[in-house]
Amino acid sequence: MKVGLFVPCYVDALYPQVGVAAYKLLKSLGVDVEYPEKQTCCGQPMGNAGFQNKSEKLVENYDELFKAYDYVVAPSASCAAYVRFFHPNIVNHECQAAAKTMDIVEFLHDVLKVTAIPGAKFPHKVSLHNSCHGVRELGLSSPTERSVPRFNKIKDLLQLVEGIEVMEPERADECCGFGGMFAIEEPDVSARMGKDKLARHIATGAEFITGPDSSCLMHMQGLVKKGQGDYTSKAGRPIEFIHVVQILASGL
């Protein structure tokens, strides 16, 4: 099984450590993983802004670059969801790579069926950020709107980590208000959503907020750093942010 690692643009530029953790984790689990260098972006920022027609070439490039792999794995639920569900509509044909693109949580949980992560240790209380596209497009957890048996793949994986205590905020999968261009076009609604979300995460008593999307974490972290409110965790320190994959790779 050959896996292509997709490190989306903003993870590449802002959170390379998330990409590194993903690579190391996959390697340690015996996966034959490669990083094709000519990758850039999934195209979501343009689609979100109303210009998916400007991403046609990008989508074709993505398909060309990744179609030979058995799976394409990304440490970013929203980008993975965009590739899988939107790419075929943008270019009006089936995309081989899109169908095989997964978020790393899905891949570990459903494909590798990981039941142990040797060495992973994170002796902290974390609040789980169930990001919208992870929940409602990829099905990383059961959407609270639906009357279906409850599950949470992210939580399942995190619970394999020694010493961790995983909490979920009240309104477990309400949007944090990032939404890409939404945060710029509707800055006030977006910020209010984020501040409400932060308050609920902090109320769990967590020291860290963790999730499968660095974009949501970036939004909330930006709000915290701006300092328009008090975002001290119950541990007495400013609330911290960490991607799920960094916790899972903590022993590497």
């Binding site: 109303g50 070439k57 409602r136 639906r146 999968d173 800055p187 609604v189 209010r192």
Partner: protein
Amino acid sequence: MSTKHAIQAEKFLQNPDKVARHDQTFWSVRAKRDVLAYQLEEWEQLRESASQIKKHTVTHLADYLDQFEANATKNGAIVHWAKDADEYNEIVMEIMRKHNVKKVVKGKSMLTEECHLNENLFKNGIDVVETDLGERILQLMNLPPSHIIMPAIHITREQVKENFAEKGLLEKNGAQGAWSMGVADKTELEAKADPTYLTRCARYHLRDNFMEAECGMTGANFGVASTGEIVVCTNEGNADMSTSIPKLHIASIGLEKIIPNYDAMGVFQRLLARHGTGQATTVYTSHFKKPRPDGEFHIILVDNGRSSILSNEDHWQTLKCMRCGACMNTCPVYRRSMGYSYTYFIPGPIGVNLGMLKNKDANYHNCSACSLCCSCDNVCPVKVDLSTQIYKWRQELDSFGHADPMKKAMSQGMKVMFENPGLYTTALKFAPLANHMPSFLTDIKLNAWCKHHTMPEFAKESFHSLWKKGKVK
């Protein structure tokens, strides 16, 4: 460039406590809905059935409309067809003139709102009294609804009291209201804006109007084709009061509200109130089939753009909507921006879509009011693909000339950069320099991100660069 929605939302958000109350009120309705949803094992099957029935009905609409008309006529109702709002208002006026109507008591109906019925009646010298409590409060305050099910939820009881005082309700009906609660002196009740007292005042005020009106008007939640009857769901019994005293009943119903039969009715009745208000059922589910003795029962079937939506491949699913309001209650943007921030009278996810179908130039402003969280898609009882439709509208804005120039320029920039891996890696290399830009350069007014956020910091070395140097092991 900010949309009208963003500008109005900013104003609403200036009062954080008010926002918190608005958000929590609607979230609690969503939470009540969830409790009921989790209790029903067949919940998701019900949603799927409802979606399929609606799809079937709207794709066989002409047949069901014919069937409905034939059965309603057989029952003794008089059925009218209105192609648009003007024709609808003319039909109403014709009936009113024939019966020399001076006053109408009216149940809640978003269709009449859509067709501007009240303004039209007033213009023609006919007094209209809304009989749903929330709608009546708003009518007295001369305000539009801010939500389709709980239209006056943004109004406080103090505001209601002040308005009732101003409009003479407290003076006229206060003593009776207090008496009905076993209280001799209404002063204290008024001082604390007692909600029960205010409701009683409204009740007696409305009862006077029920007695005086020559015509009762209702909307309809459903029109049952197999029986030719209309079904109206209320919590206050006001549709029944409106139709029990006047001999003349005019019901207004959108074409898409027709359902095939009682079996279908059973599915929708189980879903409507659970979704809308978190109740297992509305307090009153009233079936109107024939005129009262010596009375007349008119049913006006209104198109007003619906048949053209049916032929719209991307947006026909809006016709499945039964106006329960669940998408508003769950929408994190609606809850924090309030109905008046939207340019269309129906707010929230369904309103964004219906507004665009009605008038793109007036309502494109609402397309920004969505973070694409997809929660609405998952609550909708008839599975309208609400967020997908909003995404599609955004793709079309440029062709209507309403794309945001900044977003267009940014997307063009991204296109160039992301299509060219070489350019992209060069940009990555220089990106960290942006970290050293002084914040007065980045926190400029044009950069809306910096209104509430600090700029994210670029890593010293991107993943690309780390990989190239063999540092990723």
